[in-house]
Symmetry: D2
Subunit: 357 residues, 4 copies
């Protein structure tokens, strides 16, 4: 279960890394919306593997086929099914995975949940490849949000111990990023050097992504179970590899005094603003009109070339595993657009259901 999501925009995700392909059904789209393929392809391309040495060598076009819900390139209002065929798959790399549980991967818990029937080739349904569907859906969500003046912008906050600068004013994020394929502000070089180093070491490294939603007015969200934080975090933790999330100052706020952390209000040309944004644009589960600021911890790619200790569940013996095949030494650069996409979907879902104008 768990493949369906949403109260207002309904998503249904499916597919496997080395099966026929991957896809998503999206229901609840406004009829008559033009699909902006330049925009969609631009976003999809940000996630595509194999573009450079910082990502996996697997080359895929991620070409989206629309199976339903579109006529003359416009949404009809009926559920839209998007499908991406798998082309470049080398299943033989993965044959031993039925027995040897790769550390840090879903192999073992999935084996227990699905009693060994799960497709293990390339991670099967657990593959990061499925996030291509989320980027596609997110691209549609972002087109809709854009018309309401809402933009979602992400950046690489850190790779390993290389931490980029804080942004003085969250609004500036739009102007700081020069290389959209590696959206760091000042530490691009150092970060790339580190990634190259771990790649040569047959190792991997994680990082932190910061995503900002600009233009969300005050009043979006709910108290308690569908708080804006609940909805956004629910979606972001759907992305493989995420291990932490912070809104505003996040964990840092826990060591502040109330007199420091409270964001004081003032009128700025009839608009209510806060001097600081320690709460990341959300109070009581509801947006307060300031930028919504989220930080997301991404773990190192679990696939590494080094020998690792593990168990063989066929022989019930301790064993070792050495993962060959193609893998990103660092998933963070490609994950930025995925996090942006699911955040867009979460915000849109809250927006359609409530009284947001």
């Amino acid at each position: 279960m768990g493949s369906q999501w949403g109260n207002n925009i309904k998503l249904s995700i499916f597919g496997e890394s080395h099966g026929e392909g991957i896809g998503i059904v999206i229901d609840g789209l406004t009829p008559g919306m033009d699909l902006d393929w330049d925009y969609i392809n631009f976003q999809m391309a940000r996630r595509v593997p194999g573009k450079n040495k910082f990502s996996t060598a697997r080359k895929e076009s991620d070409r989206v086929e629309i199976l339903s819900g579109i006529l003359n390139n416009k949404t009809t209002g009926a559920p839209l099914c998007a499908f991406i065929k798998n082309s470049d798959k080398k299943s033989k790399d993965y044959d031993m995975l039925q027995s040897l549980m790769r550390p840090g991967h879903s192999d073992y818990p999935a084996n227990r949940k699905y009693k060994g029937y799960n497709d293990v080739r390339g991670g099967g349904h657990f593959s990061g490849r499925l996030t291509a569907s989320l980027v596609f859906a997110g691209s549609l969500a972002r087109q809709i949000l854009d018309k309401k003046g809402i933009k979602i912008v992400g950046r690489i906050k850190s790779i390993g111990n290389i931490v980029d600068v804080d942004i003085e004013n969250d609004l500036d994020i739009l102007n700081c990023i020069k290389n959209i394929d590696f959206p760091a502000i000042t530490k691009e070089k150092e970060m790339q050097t580190l990634i190259e180093k771990v790649r040569l070491d047959r190792d991997s490294v994680g990082g932190v992504i910061e995503v900002v939603a600009l233009g969300v007015k005050a009043g979006l969200g709910n108290p308690f179970f569908d708080s804006l934080e609940s909805t956004i975090s629910h979606m972001i933790f759907s992305v493989p590899g995420v291990k932490g999330i912070e809104f505003g100052k996040g964990f840092e706020i826990s060591s502040m005094l109330g007199s420091e952390s409270n964001d004081e209000y003032y009128f700025s040309e009839n608009e209510i603003k806060t001097y600081t944004n320690n709460n990341g644009g959300i109070l009581g589960g509801i947006s307060n009109g300031m930028p919504i600021v989220v930080k997301v911890a991404i773990k190192p790619t679990p696939s590494i070339g080094k020998v690792q200790k593990t168990v063989n569940i066929t022989t019930s013996k301790n064993s070792e595993v050495e993962i060959t095949g193609r893998h990103d030494p660092c998933i963070v650069p490609r994950a930025v657009v995925v996090i942006e996409s699911v955040m867009a979907l979460a915000i849109l879902d809250q927006m359609i259901g409530g009284s947001y104008e």
Copy 2:
């Protein structure tokens, strides 16, 4: 909206701080379950305010009335409605809150969402008081989990800059806590001194809570939208004041190498374990049989006695606010049982729906 939650255990929360009372409807409980009132009252008491100088002076018995779903102290299988009447309320303290938006509170976003019709007395529906209902529901969930060998244990990891020790082995958490009302391991004194200091300064301070679920077998959770992290974080971000969540090493994992962060497997008397638990017991959205470890950032209580800048939305002018009334200088000690409770509810919800045995 947002007052209902759950796929298998269904919760419906309601109430206000200074209205008739607060309550919760719980559906999906096994019929024939005895209500262990000693246990329930013990857990409720951990959250009750007014017990000592570290918490608000408001005294409330939090006496739970059962309005439905129970016969001869056993669940009938019909929805159980629990109600807690409000007794000690001093509404006059809150009269200016229609106009002056308290920084760090839900006042302003709620005013925008509800167009000024929301009950502002004591925070109304947004009050932390509503978490009493969650503790009640959590107490029932924990009784059920207990029979499956699952225990949820929380502790104060930090208050302000006072950070307690890491636990070598997550299983040890059960034995480290001496004072359940202030569940620190080695830093109880220092933390209490800090809280007393900020109280005298009419200020407040936040902290971090660590919660561990022991005894969850491998195989609980889902890939993607209902990942175990998604479900747990959804519930935890329903609790007022939470600004961050981490599973396992959380943000720290982002600066590790894959060769460090991957939890290697081994057989321990026919059971599969990992040497480390950097992933906090969850891989691919599914439990791997290791303790589930969550850290939660709690912000400083926004109600402070100091003068703060704000806006008056009636006069549309910049203004100041000085909050009187009774408030916790630090909500963290009382919040531990709340976080434990919602985590229990999240785990139980996943457990009933799936194939978990």
Copy 3:
């Protein structure tokens, strides 16, 4: 389970016939709505038992207490909990019900589902008394619909074999009903005579209720799983005693030719109408702007004074049961407002979620 419902208006029902009381939590109400208590009490009174010899002798005030969600008689936007205390309960009448399964009642299936822990006094959670909560919620829904020009009107179409006239034009239903407590058009006397006869015979009788929604514009509903018929029927079959539902001509349409059953269109002063309304205002799961016409079959009250064969599940022997206590010989007159109410809730739920203007 099954106590929660709704995509946009969320309902959570609870309570028992002979417990503390019954209630409902309603989330999703627009903030700032005045509660029209004259209207609410008028609708509640239509369902109240004990008013005359056609209904049970049990007298209850059905006085609604609002536990949350209201301030100064206006909705705040927070979940509204309404509670109705039980006052006049005679539990001793029901003592044998743990063993003797009353034919036509939920006793036996509930005993199996809840393994004997269900509250059997007065039907417990299965009691028709819980529909008072639905009438309350429906009264709020109808206030909202009324502002959009939508009215829900019901009538008694038949009692036993006494069948009232068809209405030439569905719009006329508003003008045909003289006695709102017994809303027949021409057969009030005959129907009441029949009910009195079966009462004296210690028997009961069923009937058919017709409900019409006037003023729903074209475009409400969905294809497939949330068709307008699916949503309405889901709610109407939630009402105890319902065994059939028809939209428009219903079963009669199955014996018509397409050339007879198709409702042909024409322009009437720029509005599109149909000459006939055999489809009851719904095509393809979506409203077509004509009145929505529903017929609902209500079974005879299963509680009858005659001796009936049954089983004793304690002794595992065949046995007999004679039901004493107070019961309606015919539930149909009081059920009209219940069916109207759930239909209002179903229509409102569809309306808020979609693009209906």
Copy 4:
């Protein structure tokens, strides 16, 4: 919206009559289940058009491609996406449908809901062709139910005014049907003669389908919002063309006395049974162990060759329409397997979620 359904088995339907194809995503299937293609193809074949003169001349193979969720012909536990490509489509037949609203079809309400952007070719997303996906999903559900001893059997109860016999004992339905493609008991000839007559008249005719679920034990279902009747009717009204539903005696029960309609209990070799089954196996929303008996009214195919009055929404003038193309004079024979399928899905969904053993 409305394309997703289910609490435990999750369905997501998509597709159009004259687009790329139609499909369905099914989540919640037990891992390791073999797909019995003989059984699936047998059920799919029952719905396929073009087999004989009683159905449309459109010929389609309805060949199912599995896009995900299957490995070595076994379910993996991941969402299963089934897709059926459209092959034989003649779009030109449908060109005038943007303007001329066919009576009895979804054309006009869909045009209003989707603001003219809906795909009208062959009914687009509203086409009966989408029920092929439901039959596929139902075939999997029936394999699972079969292992629990549950069988779903349907038959044609009437076509037009030709009404077949009642079945003395619901259990006998398994033995009465000789021709699975036209499952009448005694009136096959007369019914076929009538269908042939209306076909020659360029007209159409409706009918009633009776479906029985055998082997469901007592205890399945819920009081109120997820009553077994609510869940089954929700699904059955998702099928295009359904205008009425009855459980047990249905509308007939409304003219019975309680002493006639109550199903009296007795022990039959330690099993509890009822002498009659007027309530169709459901009491209080929960199964009582007797066969679940449902009757479903199907309207005449709205596509008829006769000239009909309608409106032209482009010119805003009254007009006429004459439908050419291929259509079933009576959809009832092909609809039997569709109704069986959705009933299987509804029962399975209730079964997985609850405590049914």
